[in-house]
């Protein structure tokens, strides 16, 4: 099952396309990092997924084929928007009661226990909580709905390092316990590298990379060799090339770790951060699976 599946998805705000020709499938059971520079279309993609925005072009379905924004989709997806919007004049207890009244499921016991652990007083107004506490409250409200998919838009942007750690610890504990899928966005990859096992890279309104992290790391390598060896380069799928004197460092896409290393070249494994940076520097490059791809299928398209 795919928790989010899009086909030719596009969103235009007035004259500007915030997202274009986005075709991807995020399989269930993953913690998916949606990464890209500011203004890349991450928030637009998430808004389309949770039903806050409607597509200008294409379709988006969630939770195995349910139209985004439909009652079944709203019921199964919990969304924590950027800046953690809460009703600031309401108390924490009121926010709990509010969320409970607006949903079919609400695990009040879980929410109370969680807030107790965090030391967030129920009588305090949401607006008077610290930034980290507001984030935890928003997350607790979302988790108490027992969603099948949790969508977080830039959840860590305004948090200090400790609050970031606590926030992600809560998310990962729930994933371990309940097996929900998570999609979270960030413009800083380092925040997500430790937790994400699926990566989507969006840039300039287009999806550049969408695959499992393990698969990406095993199908990309860095080759170091003579810069004069142009023939070898032509045979390879080079994502990004960096030259230093006579040496060339190529980030290449391969069919797998067993792919032979060209004669006279040296292969190194690539880190996720190097990989993302390489793709961001080459907006024309893409590593995309086919539209109906599930987690085990082979990548079908590699362009340079």
């Amino acid at each position: 099952m795919n928790v989010i599946e899009t086909s030719g998805l596009g969103k235009r705000y007035r004259q500007t396309w915030a997202l274009r020709e986005c075709t991807l499938a995020i399989p269930a059971g993953h913690v998916t990092a949606l990464v890209g520079p500011n203004g890349a279309g991450k928030t637009t993609l998430l808004n389309l997924g949770v039903g806050l925005a409607t597509p200008t072009a294409g379709v988006v379905t969630v939770l195995g084929g349910v139209p985004a924004g439909s009652p079944a989709a709203l019921d199964g997806i919990a969304f924590v928007a950027q800046d953690m919007p809460l009703y600031k004049p309401l108390s924490v207890a009121d926010m709990l009661h509010l969320t409970r009244n607006l949903n079919r499921r609400f695990d009040q016991g879980y929410a109370l226990a969680r807030l107790g652990e965090l030391g967030i007083p129920l009588k305090r107004k949401a607006g008077k909580l610290s930034g980290g506490q507001q984030a935890q409250l928003a997350l607790t409200l979302a988790l108490a709905r027992r969603p099948r998919l949790l969508v977080l838009d830039e959840p860590l942007a305004n948090l200090d390092p400790l609050a970031r750690h606590d926030f992600m610890a809560t998310v990962m504990a729930t994933v371990a316990e309940h097996g929900m899928s998570v999609v979270l966005s960030s413009h800083v990859l380092a925040e997500l590298e430790r937790v994400a096992d699926y990566l989507i890279l969006v840039s300039g309104g287009r999806v550049q990379v969408a695959d499992e992290v393990d698969s990406l790391l095993s199908t990309h390598r860095i080759l170091t060799g003579p810069a004069s060896d142009a023939r070898t380069r032509e045979e390879l799928t080079v994502v990004h090339e960096r030259r230093a004197e006579a040496q060339a460092h190529l980030l290449v896409r391969t069919r797998g770790p067993a792919d032979p290393v060209p004669l006279g070249w040296e292969a190194h494994p690539v880190s996720l951060e190097e990989l993302v940076l390489a793709y961001l520097r080459e907006p024309g490059a893409a590593a995309l699976p086919g539209p109906a791809r599930t987690s085990n299928a082979e990548p079908t398209e590699v362009t340079r």
Partner: protein, 351 residues
């Protein structure tokens, strides 16, 4: 309520039971109780004033007679009070209606609310319906209190017609209807403008424009006005227009003035020809004799004898309730239309 989740269960929830409506009752109450309390406080103070004034008026009428009160302090007080209360629906629309959606959009909380299981259209429908009913009921009670307060003097003499603009929309069902439409304008402005303060000002402006158009151009024509050539209009009549004719052809007021000046009448203000009640009919002219030798006892009688006719179109006071229901009816229809448009806009609003 606290049913545990069964995560990862297959999408066999096609027959999904919607989140019950009753949950929204608490949500609306919790989020708008301060506003509603403010509304009750303002209207409560005004209501106490009306109650005391109403008792005073009844006492004065019993002591001095209704005409005395209607000509004196009663009318003055009513005019001032009514002028002040005219703005109440617009203020209710601006302070209760406009922020409902504008605040959600301005603060970004719609991203929280509209992604809950309840669904944004149902959320908007429930919230708007509850608030609309609340403000309409409160305003309805206020409208009837205002009616009760001044019923002793309204309609007792010319110029105090129950249909006159300054009190008609504060009485009966009209006040509730004008408040409801102000609320509906407010919520629509909120979703269109998306910011609280500009939406409030837009509400005030739009409501005032509508109220002006309704009072000046629509209300006089709810039913075909009656036309009379007599000077004795019923005291509750609401005069729409007056004109002079000479041998059946319309003549301007200037022509009439010139005719009167020729026979020696001094400055003639338009009011001289105005609706002359029983106290100032042709037989008991306000001015002294006219013409050579005082042949004509008043300007109107002179004019009548020289082929002039004054035609007055008016709405009789007995049409008060039909007019109330007509105005209440179209305002209710307009309000429902605006609220439906608002919900439609909520549905298609893109984050």
């Amino acid at each position: 309520m606290t049913a545990m989740a069964t995560p990862g269960q297959p999408a066999a929830e096609a027959s999904l039971r919607p989140v019950p409506w009753r949950g929204m009752a608490w949500v609306s109450w919790r989020q708008h109780r301060t506003t509603l309390a403010g509304l009750l406080a303002v209207l409560g103070v005004a209501g106490v004033y009306l109650y005391i004034t109403g008792l005073d008026l009844r006492h004065d009428v019993a002591a001095f007679g209704e005409m005395f009160v209607a000509n004196g302090s009663g009318k003055m007080g009513m005019t001032l009070t009514a002028a002040l209360f005219q703005v109440l629906p617009a203020l209710i629309g601006a302070f209760v209606g406009a922020p409902v959606l504008a605040r959600e959009l301005e603060t970004g909380t719609f991203r929280y609310t509209w992604t809950q299981g309840f669904g944004r259209e149902r959320w908007a429908a429930a919230k708007l319906a509850q608030l609309a009913v609340a403000v309409t009921l409160v305003a309805g009670a206020f409208g009837f209190l205002f009616s009760w307060c001044y019923e002793a003097i309204i309609g007792v003499r010319q110029g105090l017609s129950p249909l006159m603009a300054i009190t008609f929309d504060l009485r009966g069902v009209a006040f509730a209807a004008w408040t409801l439409v102000a609320f509906a304008i407010g919520v629509l402005a909120g979703i269109l403008i998306r910011r609280v303060v500009p939406a409030m000002f837009a509400t005030l402006a739009a409501w005032s424009g509508l109220a002006f158009v309704a009072g000046a151009y629509l209300r006089p024509h709810y039913e075909t006005p009656l036309v009379t050539s007599g000077f004795n209009l019923p005291s509750a009549a609401w005069v729409i227009s007056q004109r002079w004719t000479l041998h059946g052809k319309p003549v301007s007021l200037t022509t009439v003035s010139q005719v009167l000046q020729k026979i020696g009448a001094k400055e003639v203000a338009p009011g001289v020809f105005g609706p002359t009640g029983p106290a100032s009919g042709p037989t008991s002219g306000t001015s002294a004799a006219f013409g050579s030798g005082g042949a004509w006892r008043s300007a109107p009688t002179y004019l009548l004898h020289h082929g002039f006719t004054q035609l007055t179109s008016y709405q009789p006071g007995s049409r008060f309730w039909p007019f109330q229901w007509i105005e209440g009816g179209w305002l209710l229809a307009l309000s429902l239309l605006l609220i439906a448009a608002t919900i439609w806009l909520v549905r298609r609003h893109a984050a």
